[in-house]
C-alpha cells in the first residue's frame, strides 16, 4: 500500500479481511457482513478510526471479518467494552455486533444501560431466535413452544421483542432490517451511523441449521410486499403488491389496524403517516406481528439528543479550562504542616 490509497474511495472489498469466514454455508450472517462492508464503503468510513466490538456467539465472530480495528470480547459484555472504547477515544466510530442470546439474555443489563445512557455507537443485534454456537437451545426471543435440546417439550416462557425492549430502555434510535435485504440494510445502517447516540438495529437473521425459515412468514422475497412495511419518515405506512394496504389508527380500540384503500370507505388520507419522532407510534409499530400484521422495518424511531460520551467529555473540557492540573497543588489542598 502507498499513500495514494488514502484518497481513493474505498469499496466494500477494502473492508474484507484475509481471514476465512467460518459461518455455516447459507447463514444469514454472510449477507449482513456484505451489507455492513457496503455501508462502510458508502459512508466513506476510515478503517483506522472504525472499531467493531462483539460479545460471544455466531454473530460475534463478525469483527474478524471486517478490515478495521476489532475486539471480540466475552459473552454479553460488548456494550460495556464498547462504552469504554468510546469514552477513552470519542473520535472512534464504534460498531457493536451482538445476538439475541448475547445481547438480550446474558448481556441484557448492559444492553439496557448502553441504550439508556445513549453512548454514541451503532448496535446491530442479529436476531435468529435461537442459540446457534451452543447447538440450538431456545433463546429469549424464541417463540412460545419452541422445541429445542433444552426444551424438548416446547418452551413455556414468553419471548421479548428486541425493539420494544430498546424503546423501553430509552433508545433514541430504533430500526429493523432483514439479513437478505441488501438494498435496504445499508440505508438503515447509514442512518444508524448518522444518528449521534446509541443506534439500535435489530436484524432478522436466518439460522439455517437450528432455526431455518423461522422468519419466512414475512421475509420470503415474493411475499415481502404483502408481509412487510418499510417505514419512511413523513410517508404513509402503505404496503401490498398493489400498494393499496396500509395501517390505520382505531381510536375506539386505541390500536393499529390494517385496512385496504378503497374498502369500507378507507381512503389514502386515512392511512397513518410515519413520524419517526413519535415514540408512542414507534412502540405500536414494533409490536405488530406476522402473520396478523405486516412486520415493520426501516427506521422506526429517531430523535437526536446529546450522547453520553459527548456529555462526559464536555464536563472534562470544562474542568480542564477552569481547573488546575498541578498535581503538587492537588495533594497539598487542605490542611498540611511543615516539619523543619
Amino acid at each position: 500500500m502507498n499513500e495514494q490509497t488514502d484518497v481513493k474511495k474505498l469499496t466494500f472489498k477494502d473492508f474484507e479481511t484475509d481471514q476465512e469466514v467460518r459461518w455455516c454455508p447459507g447463514c444469514g450472517d454472510y449477507a449482513i457482513l456484505k451489507a455492513v462492508q457496503m455501508t462502510l464503503a458508502n459512508i466513506g468510513a476510515t478503517p483506522e478510526n472504525t472499531v467493531f466490538v462483539s460479545g460471544i456467539g455466531c454473530s460475534s465472530r463478525f469483527p474478524y471479518y471486517v478490515e478495521t480495528y476489532g475486539f471480540h470480547t466475552i459473552h454479553g459484555r460488548a456494550p460495556a467494552v464498547a462504552t469504554g472504547v468510546k469514552l477513552a477515544n470519542p473520535d472512534l466510530d464504534v460498531w457493536l455486533v451482538t445476538g439475541d442470546g448475547d445481547g438480550l439474555s446474558i448481556g441484557g443489563n448492559h444492553m439496557l444501560h448502553v441504550l439508556r445512557r445513549n453512548v454514541n455507537m451503532q448496535i446491530m443485534l442479529f436476531n435468529n431466535e435461537i442459540y446457534g454456537l451452543t447447538k440450538g437451545q431456545y433463546s429469549p426471543t424464541s417463540k412460545l413452544g419452541t422445541r429445542s435440546p433444552s426444551t424438548p417439550f416446547g418452551s413455556v416462557d414468553l419471548p421479548l421483542s428486541p425493539c420494544a425492549f430498546a424503546l423501553g430502555a430509552g433508545a433514541r434510535f430504533v430500526a429493523r432490517g432483514i439479513d437478505t435485504g441488501l438494498k435496504e440494510l445499508p440505508l438503515i445502517l447509514a442512518r444508524a451511523k448518522d444518528h449521534v447516540g446509541a443506534s439500535f438495529v435489530e436484524i432478522f437473521q436466518n439460522c439455517i441449521v437450528f432455526n431455518d425459515k423461522t422468519f419466512e412468514g414475512f421475509t420470503l422475497k415474493k411475499e415481502a410486499a404483502n408481509t412487510q412495511i418499510y417505514a419512511e419518515h413523513g410517508k404513509p405506512l402503505i404496503y401490498g403488491k398493489d400498494r393499496n394496504k396500509g395501517l390505520i389508527f382505531n381510536r375506539d380500540k386505541f390500536a393499529l389496524e390494517t385496512a385496504v384503500i378503497g374498502e369500507n370507505g378507507v381512503t389514502e388520507k386515512d392511512i397513518l403517516v410515519h413520524d419517526e419522532t413519535n415514540k408512542i407510534l414507534a412502540q405500536m409499530l414494533v409490536e405488530l406481528k406476522s402473520p396478523e400484521f405486516p412486520v415493520v422495518c426501516g427506521v422506526i424511531y429517531c430523535v437526536q439528543e446529546e450522547s453520553y460520551d459527548q456529555a462526559v467529555h464536555k464536563q472534562i473540557e470544562h474542568a480542564k479550562k477552569n481547573g488546575n492540573d498541578d498535581f503538587n497543588a492537588l495533594i497539598r489542598k487542605g490542611r498540611t504542616w511543615t516539619v523543619e
Binding site: 500500500m1 479481511t17 481471514q19 478503517p47 483506522e48 478510526n49 472499531v51 467493531f52 466490538v53 469483527p63 474478524y64 478490515e67 478495521t68 480495528y69 476489532g70 475486539f71 471480540h72 470480547t73 466475552i74 459484555r77 456494550p79 460495556a80 467494552v81 464498547a82 462504552t83 469504554g84 472504547v85 468510546k86 469514552l87 477513552a88 477515544n89 473520535d91 472512534l92 443489563n109 448492559h110 439496557l112 444501560h113 462526559v312 464536563q315 472534562i316 470544562h318 474542568a319 480542564k320 477552569n322 481547573g323 488546575n324 492540573d325 498535581f327 503538587n328 492537588l330 495533594i331 497539598r332 487542605g334 490542611r335 498540611t336 504542616w337 511543615t338 516539619v339 523543619e340
Partner: protein, 620 residues
C-alpha cells in the same frame, strides 16, 4: 491522678490511644477525624481506625449501631491504631458495652450519663445501670451529663432541641482537646467553612466546642479528668498531611498516569469499602481522568478493558464480591494482554461477609482465582502512604508488561489515616509507555524480546488495523488458532512474561532485624504496623526475631526463597485462614507457623508478640 490545679499540670505521655464511641448518628467519625487533624498539625505521629457499622442509620441506641473511631498518637513512632484504648469516650450505654472489652484496665472512661436512661440501657442489653454498680471498678469513670451541658451551651442560638443535641460531639471534642492540650482554632476554622451557609449552626457548634474546653479548665480537682501532654514526633523535615489509604491510592494512580503520560479511565461500581476510590478519581476531571459508574461490576471492568484497548489505561476498583464478578473479564484482559489495574479493597468474606470489617482473605482470589492458566501481577499495600507508591507501580507494571495488575488493599488501610510526607511529582521517576505505530512486520501479538509484552497499537493509528479477542491466538500471527502446540506455547509465554517481572521489582528486604535470625515474622498488607511493633518489642526483650513484609505478592521477589530459608523458623501472620502460608509452602516447600485471625478486626501487637514469644521458645 488528682492534683491541685489540673489546668496547670500535665502528665507527659509517649503515646496514648483514645477511642470515641457513640451511636451512628452521634458524629463520632467526624469527631475522630477532626481530632486526628489537630493532632497531626501539632506534630504527633498517629494512626487511626474508624470502626463503623454497615447500617447507614441503625436503630438508635443499639449495639450494632455503634460507630467508633480510635486514634493512637505519640511522640514516638506509632504504626497501629493501638491495642487497648487508654481513654474511652462513650456517648451511650451501647457504645460502652461494645468498647469496654478492649479498654486498658485502669483506663479512663468518659460517659454521657444523660444518655444512660432506662430506654438506652434496655436497648444495649444492660439490666443494671453499669454507672451505678461496681462493674466498672477496674476503670476510672468520669460521668458527665454531656447532653445537658451541650444544650446549655447552645441555648442562645435558637436551635431546635434535635439540632442543639447534635452539637454534643463538638462539646466532647472540646473537652478532649483540653485534655490533650490541642488547639481549637483548626476546628473552629473548619466549622466556619463547613457551615458557611448556616452561620447559626456554625456558631452553636463552636460554642459547644468552647464550652467542652471550658468545662475542663474549670473542672473540680476531685475529678478524674487530667491533662496530658504528648510531644512532637521527630519526623524527617518536609511538608506533611494526613491521608487515608483510598485517598493515597487515588493520588498514586493519578501520579502514575502523569509519570507515564497515559490517560486514565476508571470503570467502577459502588461497593464498601472501595467506593471512596471512585469518589476520589471522579474529582480529577481537570487532569482529564474519566470515571464511569457502570451498571455492575462486570461492566465496570469491561469498560476499563475497552478503554485500554483504545489506548488509555483502564482501572477498576471494588472489593471481594465485586472482584469475583469481574473474574471472567480479568481472563479476557490476560488473554488479550491488555493493561488494566484492578483494585481490591478487601473486606471480611465470603459472600457479603462483613462489608465494613477488614480481612486479607482475597489472596487466593487474586493469585489463582480464574479459569485457565491465568497469571496476573498482584501487589499489596501495607499502609496509607504505601498506597501512593503501589498506585504508581501498578500503572508502571500494567503498561510495561501489557498485563492486568491486581492491587490488594483492605478496609483498614482504606479508612485509616496517618501522616504522610508529601512527595514532589517532579522528583519522582518517569516511565515510558510505548504505543506501536510502525506497520513493518506488525501483528498484535508481536512481542518485545525483553519484557515479552505484546505490541500495543491503538485504534486511530493508520496501518495497524487488527482484531483481538479471548480466543487463543497464534504466536506468530496473532490470528485465531486452535493449534495444540501453539496453545502450549502461548500458555507458557503468558506465564513466563509474568514470572520475568520478578527481575523488575525490588528484592525482598528485611524491614526490621536481619537475614538469618532465629525467627522471622512474615506478613503482607495491613498487618505491617502491628508486626513491626511486636517484632520491635520482642527484640527489646532479647528475642532474635526479624520482620519481613511482602509487597510483591505475584510474582514473588526473586530472593524471597533464600531469604526465608535463612531463618530457623518463620511465622506467617495474616488476617485470613492461612492463604499466604499455603502460597509460600507451595512455592518453596516452606514449613512455617501460621498465625491467623479473622474477626474483622486488625491484629493487636500483643497477639503477635505472644506468638513470637511462644515460637521463640520463651513461653510454652
Amino acid at each position: 491522678m488528682n492534683v491541685q490545679n489540673p489546668a496547670q499540670d500535665f502528665d507527659e505521655l509517649d503515646s496514648v490511644c483514645v477511642r470515641f464511641a457513640g451511636d451512628s448518628g452521634d458524629g463520632m467519625q467526624l469527631t475522630g477525624t477532626q481530632f486526628s487533624v489537630v493532632t497531626a498539625l501539632e506534630g504527633s505521629d498517629l494512626s487511626t481506625f474508624p470502626d463503623f457499622p454497615a447500617e447507614i442509620r441503625a436503630p438508635v441506641g443499639t449495639t450494632f449501631g455503634v460507630s467508633a473511631f480510635q486514634i493512637n498518637f505519640g511522640s514516638v513512632e506509632v504504626s497501629t491504631a493501638g491495642d487497648e484504648p487508654d481513654v474511652l469516650v462513650a456517648m451511650n450505654p451501647a457504645a460502652l458495652k461494645v468498647s469496654l472489652p478492649g479498654l486498658r484496665k485502669g483506663g479512663l472512661i468518659i460517659v454521657d450519663e444523660g444518655a444512660f436512661n432506662k430506654r438506652n440501657l434496655d436497648k444495649a442489653g444492660y439490666f443494671d445501670n453499669p454507672l451505678e454498680n461496681d462493674s466498672l471498678s477496674d476503670y476510672q469513670i468520669q460521668k458527665l451529663d454531656i447532653t445537658k451541658l451541650t444544650l446549655e451551651s447552645v441555648k442562645d442560638f435558637g436551635l431546635g432541641n434535635k439540632d442543639a443535641v447534635r452539637s454534643k460531639n463538638m462539646w466532647t471534642l472540646g473537652l478532649v482537646l483540653w485534655m490533650f492540650d490541642r488547639p481549637r482554632k483548626p476546628i473552629t476554622d473548619w466549622l466556619e467553612e463547613k457551615f458557611k451557609k448556616i452561620p447559626d449552626v456554625a456558631k452553636a457548634n463552636i460554642a459547644a466546642l468552647n464550652a467542652g474546653h471550658a468545662y475542663g479548665e474549670t473542672v473540680e480537682a476531685s475529678s478524674n479528668l487530667q491533662r496530658y501532654h504528648v510531644g512532637k514526633h521527630k519526623e524527617e523535615p518536609g511538608e506533611y498531611r494526613t491521608v487515608n489509604g483510598n485517598q493515597a491510592l487515588a493520588w498514586g494512580l493519578l501520579a502514575g498516569s502523569k509519570l507515564g503520560e497515559i490517560p486514565l479511565m476508571l470503570g467502577s461500581y459502588p461497593i464498601t469499602p472501595a467506593s471512596s476510590l471512585l469518589h476520589a478519581l471522579s474529582s480529577f476531571k481537570e487532569f482529564g481522568v474519566i470515571t464511569f459508574q457502570a451498571e455492575d461490576e462486570i461492566a465496570a471492568i469491561c469498560s476499563a478493558i475497552g478503554a485500554s484497548f483504545a489506548g488509555s489505561l483502564g482501572i477498576t476498583s471494588s472489593s471481594g464480591p465485586g472482584i469475583a464478578l469481574k473474574t471472567e473479564a480479568i481472563g479476557l484482559a490476560i488473554s488479550t494482554e491488555l493493561p488494566v489495574v484492578i483494585i481490591d479493597i478487601q473486606r471480611a468474606g465470603p459472600s457479603t461477609g462483613m462489608p465494613t470489617k477488614t480481612e486479607q482473605s482475597d489472596l487466593y482470589q487474586a493469585v489463582c482465582g480464574r479459569n485457565g492458566d491465568a497469571p496476573v501481577v498482584v501487589l499489596a499495600t501495607s499502609n496509607p502512604q504505601d498506597c501512593f507508591d503501589v498506585g504508581i507501580e501498578a500503572v508502571r507494571l500494567a503498561t510495561k508488561y501489557m498485563t492486568p495488575v491486581m492491587v490488594l488493599s483492605d478496609g483498614y488501610i482504606a479508612n485509616a489515616s496517618e501522616p504522610w510526607k508529601l512527595p514532589d511529582i517532579n522528583k519522582l521517576e518517569k516511565f515510558q509507555v510505548n504505543f506501536c505505530t510502525n506497520p513493518e512486520g506488525f501483528h498484535p501479538f508481536k512481542r518485545d524480546p525483553l519484557t515479552l509484552a505484546r505490541a500495543w497499537a491503538k485504534p486511530g493509528t493508520p496501518g495497524m488495523l487488527h482484531r483481538i479477542g479471548g480466543i487463543e491466538k497464534s504466536y506468530d500471527t496473532g490470528h485465531i488458532s486452535y493449534d495444540p502446540a501453539n496453545h502450549q506455547k502461548m500458555t507458557d509465554i503468558r506465564a513466563e512474561k509474568i514470572a520475568n517481572i520478578a527481575n523488575d521489582i525490588a528484592e525482598q528486604s528485611v524491614s526490621l532485624g536481619n537475614e538469618g535470625s532465629k525467627l522471622a515474622v512474615v506478613g503482607w498488607g495491613s498487618t505491617r504496623g502491628a508486626i513491626h511493633q511486636a517484632v520491635k518489642r520482642a527484640r527489646g526483650e532479647g528475642i532474635d526475631v526479624s520482620h519481613v513484609h511482602i509487597g510483591n505478592i505475584w510474582p514473588l521477589p526473586r530472593n524471597l526463597e533464600t531469604l526465608l530459608k535463612s531463618f530457623d523458623k518463620v511465622i506467617i501472620a495474616e488476617m485470613n485462614n492461612g492463604q499466604m502460608n499455603h502460597l509460600l509452602r507451595a512455592e518453596y516447600l516452606l514449613d512455617a507457623y501460621s498465625l491467623t485471625k479473622v474477626t474483622g478486626q486488625p491484629f493487636k501487637i500483643s497477639e503477635i508478640l505472644e506468638c513470637i514469644r511462644v515460637q521463640a521458645g520463651e513461653r510454652s
